[in-house]
């Protein structure tokens, strides 16, 4: 080769930048792939009470939501959440004050259906809760040394797992929850589900992760929706609530090609929604906050809704009622 010195320097310089960049990226990729570093979101201890067969797992920091600026503004419009009073009358639990956080799971019951379990952590007056349940026709008993209250008609049950922790769900599932510590542990040992927390930002106020590719994984979905999302293997959604709501929804497609198809589909739906923004101005805040990205088989929809945009979406807001008035 007869290329001159300057040309050689440029080629070597370019190749050097590439070599250093690729080597650095490769090293970072290898270290980020180590399982110990994969979990971005801390795990609540109460996950050990959720059965390992759970396909959907949720967490909500109720205290943070109730103390948030957004909730304060919502309270001015809607002093009580839907069903809040009914829940308090039936269980004696005041969502606003008694609960710190909730962990929930959906568990396939083997008959084309799923049942849910909710583990509530907070400050509970167990004697008052038991008395109230009995007053509503429930029955109290002891199961594995724990107090179990069943409400006969609905085969629902509530158990006091430890101080400040109660489980609510179907009787069978609550009993299974009590049995878990002595029968192999809960869902927190399931890396395929817990690994999805890497898509959830640390410090999220609420999150839900779920696998749809496990047996019974999509049973909780309506039939029409289940067929539509059959190419999604798993999903994770995490949100931070304070002045507004921000977070991201990540869907893991079954392969990269499906991921690209899913991205294109969502992109089209967003484009369609944007075209209709003229007739639905209340959607502007929501649509402007959405950002669609994808990497490999993962498609992520990030959102960042300020409090005003959230309030705009409420059907019960005062200005909406005024606008709808004859």
């Amino acid at each position: 080769m007869s290329m001159n010195q300057r040309t050689r320097y440029v080629l070597v310089g370019g190749a050097g930048v590439m070599a250093v960049g690729l080597a650095g990226g490769l090293a970072a990729w290898v270290s980020s792939s180590l399982p110990s570093l994969a979990l971005a979101q801390e795990r609540p201890d109460e996950l050990r009470y959720v059965p390992p067969e759970a396909t959907i797992l949720s967490f909500a920091n109720v205290r943070e939501v109730m103390d948030s600026d957004l909730r304060r503004r919502l309270r001015e419009i809607q002093p009580e959440l839907d069903g809040q009073r009914e829940f308090q009358e039936r269980t004696g639990i005041d969502i606003e004050r008694d609960i710190d956080y909730v962990v929930g799971g959906l568990v396939p019951d083997g008959s084309d259906d799923t049942t849910g379990i909710a583990i509530l952590a907070g400050r509970f007056d167990t004697e008052r809760l038991e008395a109230l349940a009995l007053q509503h026709g429930g029955a109290a008993s002891d199961y594995q040394g724990r107090r179990l209250i069943t409400i006969g008609d609905e085969s629902a049950a509530m158990a006091f797992l430890e101080s400040g922790v109660i489980a609510i769900g179907s009787e069978a599932l609550v009993k299974r929850t009590i049995d878990l510590p002595s029968s192999g542990g809960g869902v927190d040992a399931d890396d395929s589900l817990m690994g999805l927390l890497r898509h959830v930002d640390s410090g999220s106020t609420a999150w839900t992760v779920g696998r749809l590719d496990n047996p019974g994984g999509g049973e909780w979905l309506p039939d029409q929706v289940e067929s539509q999302v059959s190419q999604v293997a798993a999903f994770a959604i995490g949100a931070r609530v304070n002045g507004g709501v921000s977070g991201r929804l990540t869907a893991e497609a079954r392969d990269e090609e499906t991921g690209r198809n899913l991205r294109d589909l969502l992109q089209g739906l967003l484009a369609l929604a944007r075209l209709q923004m003229g007739s639905r101005p209340e959607l502007r805040g929501l649509l402007d906050s959405l950002r669609l990205t994808s990497a490999g088989a993962n498609v992520t929809l990030a959102f960042d809704l300020p409090a005003d945009a959230v309030l705009e979406l409420l059907p019960d807001r005062p200005d909406a009622n005024a606008a709808n008035a004859p």
Binding site: L11, G14, G25, W29
Partner: protein
């Protein structure tokens, strides 16, 4: 005994032309233009990094001025790949360098010297094409890598987790430079006003046909290239919104189809360009 008049083999001749052409190409005025369009994204990425060091920018909490932002570093990098590289740098470099492979020699009246050498005319084009690939790759690919390392760590992005997407981006940009270069080498060998033809193709034909329903989009390079992009398409303008809408209602091509289409375009365009150079009579103007 060695025959001094014997033609060297095609590959050997092409490498010799590559050797000469690379230096010429790298130190031409066109390289200033290439450095500007490849350096622009690096400058913007460096500015973003500088902004990230300001007190109002809380990278740990993903906030700017106390307000949460929904974009993170990998998202911004994806937008930059689409906007700066796939939609601009790659086709524009393909046009400027590809059309000039032969047109420059005609314009400078030096093509006669090249074609009177005992080498196949096709080898001249092949050598110059290889020089174009090396010249653009050595500037554009490091630019992408630097932008990646500057932008991806912003707002909690992970360099490690997004590394496979960088590899795909580098491969995609390399493939884009190769295919656009081959197409415009053909345009340069065939058309008199090749630069104008190339610019009309890149800025007129391609943006239009990829948003039109029907089969016209198959007659573009952008359609296959964009079909392989690992990042979501940005939707900043009306054309992008329409393109997103249409893309979602049609069945996207499989990865292997996009790759096969690009390989086919590359092969046909390069072979046709070499054939055109072999057969065409180049008339030098006054």
């Amino acid at each position: 005994m060695v025959d001094a008049n014997a033609r060297p083999a095609f590959g050997r001749a092409a490498l010799r032309v590559f050797d000469l052409g690379l230096g010429q190409m790298l130190w031409s005025r066109r390289t200033v233009f290439m450095a500007l369009i490849a350096g622009g994204p690096v400058l913007i990425a460096a500015l973003l990094r500088a902004l990230a060091s300001l007190p109002t920018f809380d990278a740990g909490a993903g906030q700017i001025g106390g307000r949460a932002v929904s974009l993170d570093g990998p998202d911004i990098f994806g937008l930059m790949i689409w906007t700066f590289y796939l939609r601009f740098t790659v086709p524009v470099l393909g046009v400027f360098y590809g059309t000039a492979l032969i047109a420059d020699e005609v314009e400078d009246r030096t093509i006669t010297y090249l074609f009177t050498r005992p080498v196949a005319r096709g080898a001249v084009l092949a050598g110059k094409y290889l020089a174009y690939l090396a010249c653009t790759a050595v500037v554009v690919l490091p630019s992408v890598t630097i932008v990646y390392f500057l932008v991806v760590p912003l707002l909690g992005g992970s360099i490690g987790r997004n590394f496979p997407a960088l590899l795909v981006d580098l491969g995609l940009i390399g493939a884009g430079l190769a295919v656009y270069g081959a197409v415009f080498a053909l345009v340069g060998a065939w058309f008199r006003r090749s630069l104008l033809t190339g610019l009309v193709f890149v800025f007129g034909w391609e943006p239009l046909v990829v948003v039109l329903p029907g089969y016209m989009k198959y007659l573009s390079v952008a359609y296959y290239l964009q079909g392989l992009a690992p990042h979501a398409m940005p939707q900043g303008d009306a054309l992008s919104v329409i393109q997103a809408l249409l893309t979602s209602v049609q069945t996207p091509l499989a990865t292997w189809v996009n790759l096969a289409a690009l390989a086919l375009i590359w092969t046909v365009a390069l072979a046709a360009a070499m054939r055109a150079v072999e057969r065409r009579e180049f008339v030098l103007g006054q």
